[in-house]
């Protein structure tokens, strides 16, 4: 008994009024009632908890069973079975077993109450104990105990047993259930179909498993004989010792032989609802056959003589093997191919089928065709075939730009379920359209031109040229510098890109490159002037930066204006050319129609009439399309004159449509004569239109910039004259050189050959010695010289080998300089080693190296000197007449050089008007001037060989330049608008539409040393074994 429990005084009368208690319904009596109420509630709680947990388990198992079916059907089935069992088990355990264990004894409930309701403490436990003690022989005062019990009753009635009920477990179980339901729902909803299929599978197979067929085998091993359909070409096949499982193509006849486990009167095969009687021989040997048509199963059935079934064997599967459709693959050409009109296309393909192909066709269609057309291809193999077909598209008369779709289609030989079709991927062939490519190029150029206009406007409206420049505003315009620079780069890039494309207008890409290059420099100057101005403004320094910026901006504007106009003129020209081309197309179409009408007139063939009407309709839509395009182009031409002319021509074409409508009407009325007359009228009109367009083009070129045109023409004339004069002068020099060379050759043959072997040997020895010097032995600064001396000595050796004493002398001189530097470095090394207090051995090695390099240097010097001695002063080999002629030629060459400078000046002047020349052209002309200057010096120095070489080089530069200029002007009719000169290196390869020039073998006198050195360097590269001799002979021939 708990002495600490507050025990009310016994003296307190029973009827003493207790403090007023809130009225409450009496649900139990005394403490016993309280305990019973608590136990009831507690049990209810635990059953609820058990039910929730059980249900959670059930849900989890059902949920997982669907998901587990895929990896493991067994696991799914276990889940399914566990679900109800586990659910009930948990409920029983938590809701019944556990309460019984917890609450079978009142004392447990009393203790729990005491714990949960502190006011009661353990009084009720004491009461239970007392009550039990009273029932035995008490060793205490029973009255007192009963008084206590009464008091406990009274107190107990004041409390609500719910207070002592623990609901946490139920709540927890509820949460668990909710979580499980949530997780399972999420998993199921993620793949509801899969879950359901899994559950179904688990359930159904459980069901099947639950309903096992108890059919026992009633036959032994089965022998199967397959007789395949004829189209397969397969031989019959017999398979013995099987369990009867059949796998065959549809249409295969299967014969079975087996032996029954008992004697039977009759036997059958049951396939679905059909029955196939078996032949019974000897009471137990069974045989029969049936044709396989679909997958399924069959079984053996035994019957009595009266037909009553006595036994049934298990189901044996029948598997129908599929006959696959043919596979066709186009291996060549590529999916999209662009070809020239009339070009043949080689199609490469493979076709295969499991049993055989019956046909292979090429199916194609162009936009103008109302239906697909087919070409039957040859099949030499039935099952697997790789073939080629050279497709001549010329017959289809596809127009440029037209796109043809095609594929291959093959049929197999399936006679059972019908021939199946297999097709290849659909591919496309487009007829190359120069117009489209040019149009594309024009569009690209036009977009850049538009940006150039915008750039020009930004410059014109910018603050750079205003008298009072505001540094902030000027600084803001750095963005224009950047965008301008970007634009120039893009122009150059697009120009180069277009130059590699076939049929891209040459003048357009050349102009883009020229504009990009020239303007880039101007933009850069403006940009740097701006930076200078901004810096000077910030530092308040007076650097004349404002004026410099203004000037740079002005010059850039001038350049941009010129570029805008020139590019625009070229674009307009292109558009006019396209209009002319379209007009020609229209004319061509008209001629075709006229020829059809003429034919029809003669034959009166109704089929021809249909074709003629179709052609007329096609022509009309084509003319409409062409005219729409022409109108677009004409509107895009901004040139004052060209616009007027182009639109005027276009205006004339409006009547063409009306005339063609008349032609169509007349053809409908079968009035061929009138239609022809009308077509003739159209022809005249078209002719006139073409003439006018041609005139417009010429007029346009004449009016564009007469001043520039005149300058350009003068330049071309001067260039021609200069080239001619240079040629004449070079020819004269050549004559002198020939005499000089003859004398030199004689001298070299005499003296040079005598020392050749000796020098070669010496050069080789020295070279070998240098090779033995490691890089670490010398100062790192001598590395370059070490390499050089070896290379030059090798050159000396090679040159001597081919009797080129001139080159050998030059290489020897270079080798001598390098050898001297090496010796100097080696001389320093011992001093340095001593200064660094290196070990004596190191110092000794350095001294040895110095001695070696000095000796080698001496040898190289000796080689060089001996070679130099072979060459006397050129003038000593010339006659007085030649000397005088050379002097005269030197003077003339100098004057010609001035003329070349004049040409360069003219180029500059023209460059102020239009971007005709790019930096490359300028460089070319500069090189011409340099060559001429060099030639002049050589001639004055009485050196006819090198003088002639320089002259020849200058002449070739000039001729090349002239050729490029001529090509740039293209098909122009003479003295027209100057086209930009092709910039830099030209494209090459298939795309080039310029004439293929033969490779020019440079004259040996042209830049002799560099050229021959290049050849000798090239000789060092290993050639393929097969060609070694040829290569060697080639070089030797060249250098001679």
């Amino acid at each position: 008994m708990n002495s600490e429990s507050p025990v009310p005084p016994l003296s307190q009368p029973e009827n003493t009024k207790a403090p007023p208690q809130p009225a409450r319904p009496r649900r139990f009596v005394g403490y016993v009632g309280l305990l019973q109420a608590l136990r009831r509630r507690q049990r209810r709680q635990l059953r609820t908890e058990g039910a929730l947990l059980g249900f959670a388990f059930f849900v989890a198992c059902i949920g997982f069973s669907g998901l587990l079916a895929q990896p493991s059907l067994t696991a799914a089935r276990i889940c399914l079975m566990l679900a109800p069992v586990g659910c009930l088990g948990i409920w029983w355990w938590r809701g019944f077993l556990r309460p019984w264990r917890l609450f079978y004894d009142e004392r447990h409930a009393a203790r729990l109450l005491g714990e949960r309701i502190p006011e009661l403490s353990f009084d009720l436990l004491a009461a239970v104990e007392l009550q039990r003690a009273l029932e035995r022989t008490p060793d205490f005062s029973p009255e007192l105990a009963r008084a206590f019990l009464r008091q406990a009753d009274n107190r107990a009635e004041a409390f609500d047993p719910d207070r002592a009920v623990d609901t946490r477990q139920v709540r927890m179980a509820g949460i668990i259930l909710a979580c499980v339901v949530g997780v399972v729902a999420a998993l199921v909803l993620a793949r509801p179909a899969g879950w359901w299929a899994g559950v179904s599978r688990a359930v159904s197979e459980v069901g099947v498993a639950a309903r096992p067929t108890h059919r026992d085998p009633i036959t032994g091993e089965v022998e199967l004989t397959y007789r395949y359909p004829a189209y397969t070409g397969l031989q019959p096949r017999t398979v013995g010792g099987t369990n009867g499982e059949i796998s065959a193509l549809a249409g295969t006849e299967v014969s079975l032989r087996t032996r029954s486990d008992r004697s039977v009167a009759r036997a059958e095969l049951a396939t679905g609802d059909a029955r196939v009687p078996l032949q019974v021989s000897g009471g137990r040997d069974l045989s029969g056959s049936f044709v396989v048509s679909k997958s399924g199963a069959y079984r053996f059935v035994f019957l009595t003589a009266s037909g009553r079934q006595v036994a049934e064997g298990p189901d044996i599967p029948i598997q129908v093997e599929p006959d696959e459709p043919p596979k066709v693959t186009l291996t060549a050409p590529a999916e999209e191919l662009e070809i020239d009109s009339g070009q043949k296309v080689l199609l490469k393909y493979t076709a295969s089928d499991d049993f055989g192909l019956t046909s292979l066709e090429l199916v194609y269609r162009s936009p103008r065709m109302s239906e697909e057309k087919r070409i039957r291809l040859r099949l030499s193999e039935e099952r697997r075939f790789s073939g080629e077909y050279r497709w001549d598209l010329a017959e289809l008369r596809l127009a440029p730009g037209e796109r043809l779709s095609y594929y291959l289609a093959a049929h197999d030989n399936d006679e059972v379920s019908g021939k199946k079709l297999g097709v290849s991927r659909t591919q496309y062939i487009k007829i190359y359209s120069a117009t489209e490519h040019r149009r594309d190029a024009v569009l690209k150029a036009e977009a850049l031109w538009e940006r150039l206009v915008s750039h020009l406007s930004s410059r014109l409206e910018g603050p750079d040229r205003s008298a009072e420049k505001q540094p902030e505003r000027v600084a803001e315009h750095q963005s224009v510098d950047a965008s301008g620079s970007e634009l120039c780069e893009e122009m150059t890039a697009v120009g180069h890109q277009l130059s590699r494309q076939r049929d891209a207008p040459e003048e357009l890409w050349a102009a883009l490159i020229n504009v990009g290059d020239n303007l880039q420099r101007r933009v850069a100057v403006t940009g740097s002037s701006r930076r200078l101005f901004v810096r000077a403004s910030a530092q308040r320094a007076d650097l004349d930066a404002a004026r410099r910026l203004g000037r740079a901006s002005d010059e850039e504007i001038l350049e941009s204006e010129k570029d805008v106009l020139y590019l625009e003129a070229l674009l307009d020209r292109q558009k006019l050319q396209e209009i002319t081309e379209l007009a020609k197309q229209m004319s061509h179409d008209r001629r075709e129609l006229a020829s059809l009408v003429e034919k029809y007139k003669q034959t009166k063939d109704s089929a021809l009439r249909e074709e003629m009407l179709k052609q007329a309709e096609a022509l009309r839509s084509r003319i409409e399309e062409l005219m729409r395009r022409m109108a677009e182009l004409a509107r895009g031409i901004r040139d004052e004159h060209l616009n007027y002319e182009a639109l005027k021509d276009l205006a004339q074409q409006n009547s063409l449509e009306e005339q063609l409508a008349d032609v169509q009407r007349l053809l409908q009325e079968e009035n061929a004569d009138a239609a022809l007359a009308k077509l003739q009228e159209m022809a005249m009109q078209m002719e006139q239109m073409l003439r006018q367009l041609d005139d417009s083009g010429q007029q346009f070129e004449g009016e564009q910039n007469p001043e520039l045109t005149a300058k350009f023409q003068k330049f071309m004339d001067d260039l021609q004259d200069t080239t001619h004069q240079q040629k004449r002068l070079a020819d004269q020099t050549k004559e002198v050189r020939e005499r000089y060379r003859k004398q030199m050759r004689d001298r070299l043959m005499q003296k040079g050959m005598a020392i050749k072997e000796q020098l070669m040997k010496l050069a080789e020895e020295v070279s070998k010695d240098y090779r033995q010097i490691g890089p670490e032995q010398l100062n790192y600064r001598a590395d370059r010289q070490l390499e050089e001396v070896q290379a030059e000595l090798e050159n000396v050796h090679n040159a001597l080998k081919i009797d080129d004493f001139d080159l050998a002398a030059e290489s020897a001189a270079k080798a001598e300089r390098a050898a001297e530097e090496i010796a100097a470095h080696a001389q320093q090394k011992p001093y340095l080693e001593r200064a660094y207090r290196s070990p004596p051995q190191v110092v000794a090695e350095a001294e040895e190296l110095a001695r070696r390099t000095a000796k080698d240097g001496q040898s190289v010097r000796e080689i060089s000197q001996k070679l130099q001695q072979l060459f006397p002063r050129p003038d000593s080999m010339l006659s007085e007449g030649d000397k005088s002629a050379l002097k005269q030629m030197g003077t003339e060459q100098k004057q010609l050089g001035k003329k070349a400078q004049g040409l360069r000046q003219q180029m500059d002047e023209m460059a102020q008007m239009a971007p005709i020349f790019g930096p490359d052209a300028n460089e070319q002309m500069d090189r011409v001037g340099e060559r001429m200057g060099e030639a002049s010096q050589r001639l004055e120095g009485q050196d006819p060989a090198r003088g002639y070489g320089e002259q020849k080089a200058a002449l070739e530069q000039l001729e090349r330049f002239q050729q490029q200029m001529r090509e740039s002007q293209g098909q122009g009719k003479g003295r027209g608008f100057p086209m930009p000169m092709f910039a830099g290196s030209r494209r090459s390869g298939w795309g080039s539409n310029r004439p293929q020039e033969p490779v020019q073998i440079p004259d040996p006198d042209q830049s002799p040393n560099d050229f021959r050195k290049d050849l000798l360097d090239a000789m060092k590269q290993p050639a393929p074994d097969k060609y070694k001799d040829q290569v060697k002979r080639y070089y030797e021939e060249l250098v001679k």
């Binding site: 020009l456 004409a634 004052e640 007027y644 182009a646 276009l650």
Partner: protein
């Protein structure tokens, strides 16, 4: 006409009807009628015919023929066709019957407007706007010529407007080829004036001066009984054509003056002898222009020395049958040689413009000969048009102007002004296209005063330029200088009457100046051209020059689809250019 008539008369007299023996007095009377018609004395011819009808049998074919001729001259085309058919005239190209039929067809749907002395026939549609201005011009020139030449045609003169050059060819004896190569735009023939609608010409033309010019021809022909030689005819007509708007001799253009100055300087003038038989037969257009300028100054000299009486005297002498030289000598009271010398001296004294001005603005370009882009420019908007610079001969200036237009097209007004400025510095005011585009760029930048200066300078060399006048009008309206704006817009209207901007602006101007009648006239024209109702026209007109829109663009109403009445849409659809709004 003169060449056609005798042939026809011969045909008539040799026809089957005349194979019967006509009495000699009838033959003589017929010849009298023929002569009267040739002398443009239709009243006299009609009187003679009435007299002849009373004595000759009614079925005589020549009677029907002249009845038809007179009916044709008087504009009674239905009657003319009946009578000429009855006369057995063949219906073939060049015959009077074909002419009458063609004219009847062309005039079939024409509408008419009348004043005291004129009946103005015009095609349905926007030509309606011409009527009040044309009648005003004609009445004014009639009054002025009555004073100067002492003659006014009796009755009401017919004026017929044709849609285009093809119609002009049909109603005249000229071929289409002749019309298009010579640039003929109006003729005075068959006792009436025939004028091509300005809508047929790319930039319009000085149609009011042309009306006055042709009426002068009519007066001179009738007064002189068709005896004045062509060169003098042209000289008098050109000299007096400006009388409807002021004094004589105002209509010679600076470009013609400049050309004459150049020729005077080089001594390459055209002699009177070379002008025979027709100035139009001179080898080049430049020679023809020079010849016209020369005869203009010949008339100018006579007018200055003798006044209008001098001209009257020449016409009178010629009408009486005097020779050209004699008539001139009599009128100038000096020998022909002396007159020639004086004339040369007079020409040399003229203040020729220093710059050479191209003649292109004088050239009439028919729309059907113009490129598609110029035929129907649509709404004016920013007036972007590169072909305007085709006339600029100086390559540098043309290129700069071209760049300016590129910039303006892209909304870079400042850059455009820069480029135009460069172009103008190269060629000055020589080309109205450059000046106008420069002014438009300046207006876009709100540099109004600068733009006005540029335009005023351009007007000095191209006084009748409708574009320059319209742009100036905008500036004056903006500055509320209504009087000056009125002059500018009226000058523009004299060449380009179908520009709705002109009429809308005139509504505002006349309203501001309190001229209710003129405002109403402009309103009517604006309604025809825009298809807007009166109140809408007033509302639009009231906003012109007031809102914030730049002066570089025409402040025209947007074109709601519902604003046109069905009738106007139908009538305009029939027009060759579909209504150039």
């Amino acid at each position: 006409m003169r060449s056609v008539a005798p042939a026809l008369l011969a045909f008539v007299l040799s026809s089957r009807a005349l194979a019967q023996d006509l009495r000699p007095e009838i033959k003589s009377e017929l010849q009298h009628i023929e002569q009267a018609i040739n002398d443009w004395d239709i009243a006299g011819a009609k009187k003679a015919l009435v007299g002849l009808e009373q004595v000759a049998p009614p079925d005589v074919e020549p009677l029907q023929y002249y009845k038809g001729r007179i009916a044709f001259e008087e504009g009674r085309y239905e009657e003319a066709v009946s009578a000429l058919t009855a006369a057995g005239i063949p219906d073939k190209p060049g015959s009077y019957l074909r002419l009458a039929k063609d004219t009847r067809k062309v005039m079939e749907h024409h509408r008419r407007a009348e004043s005291e002395h004129f009946i103005f026939f015009y095609p349905e549609g926007k030509d309606e706007v011409l009527a009040p201005y044309a009648l005003e011009t004609l009445e004014a020139i009639r009054t002025a010529l009555g004073t100067d030449l002492g003659y006014q045609p009796p009755g009401k003169t017919r004026v017929e407007v044709v849609n285009d050059a093809r119609e002009l060819a049909k109603v005249s004896t000229l071929t289409y080829q002749q019309i298009s190569t010579t640039g003929t735009i109006a003729i005075c023939k068959f006792s009436k004036l025939i004028i091509t609608s300005p809508k047929a010409v790319v930039r319009g033309y000085d149609w009011q001066d042309t009306l006055a010019h042709e009426f002068t021809h009519l007066v001179v022909t009738q007064e002189s009984r068709n005896t004045v030689p062509i060169w003098l005819h042209e000289g008098i007509a050109k000299y007096l054509e400006s009388r409807w708007r002021g004094g004589p001799g105002l209509s010679i253009s600076p470009s013609t003056l400049a050309l004459l100055g150049e020729r005077v300087k080089k001594g390459k003038l055209i002699s009177f002898e070379k002008m025979h038989p027709s100035i139009a037969l001179l080898p080049s257009a430049e020679d023809a222009a020079t010849a016209f300028a020369e005869v203009f100054f010949a008339v100018d000299l006579i007018y200055r020395e003798q006044g209008a009486a001098g001209l009257r005297a020449i016409i009178d002498k010629l009408a009486r049958g005097a020779e050209e030289k004699a008539a001139l000598e009599a009128a100038t009271e000096r020998p022909f040689g002396a007159f020639e010398k004086g004339w040369m001296a007079h020409m040399k004294k003229q203040p020729f413009p220093k710059e050479f001005i191209p003649l292109s603005d004088q050239k009439v370009v028919l729309k059907e000969q113009a490129p598609a882009g110029n035929k129907d420019k649509g709404r004016k908007g920013k007036e972007i048009n590169f072909s305007d610079f085709a006339e600029v001969e100086e390559v540098g200036a043309r290129k700069m102007a071209h760049l300016g237009e590129l910039m303006r097209e892209r909304g870079h007004a400042l850059a455009a002004a820069d480029e135009y400025g460069k172009a103008r510095s190269l060629v000055g005011d020589k080309y109205e296209s450059i000046s106008n585009k420069y002014a438009l760029a300046l207006l876009e930048l709100h540099r109004v005063d600068e733009a006005e200066q540029v335009l005023q300078a351009a007007l000095r060399l191209h006084p009748g330029s409708p574009a320059t006048n319209v742009h100036l009008g905008r500036i004056f309206l903006f500055k509320k200088q209504f009087d000056r704006a009125r002059v500018a817009y009226r000058s523009a209207l004299a060449s380009d009457p179908f520009d709705e901007e002109i009429h809308l602006s005139l509504v505002r101007i006349e309203t501001a100046l309190g001229s209710k009648e003129l405002a109403q006239r402009a309103r009517g024209a604006a309604m025809v051209l825009t298809g807007l109702p009166a109140e809408m026209v007033d509302r639009v007109a009231n906003t012109i020059g007031k809102n914030d829109r730049p002066l570089s663009e025409a402040n025209l109403p947007t074109q709601p689809e519902t604003r046109e009445s069905p009738e106007s849409v139908i009538s305009r659809r029939d027009e060759p250019d579909g209504g150039n709004l």
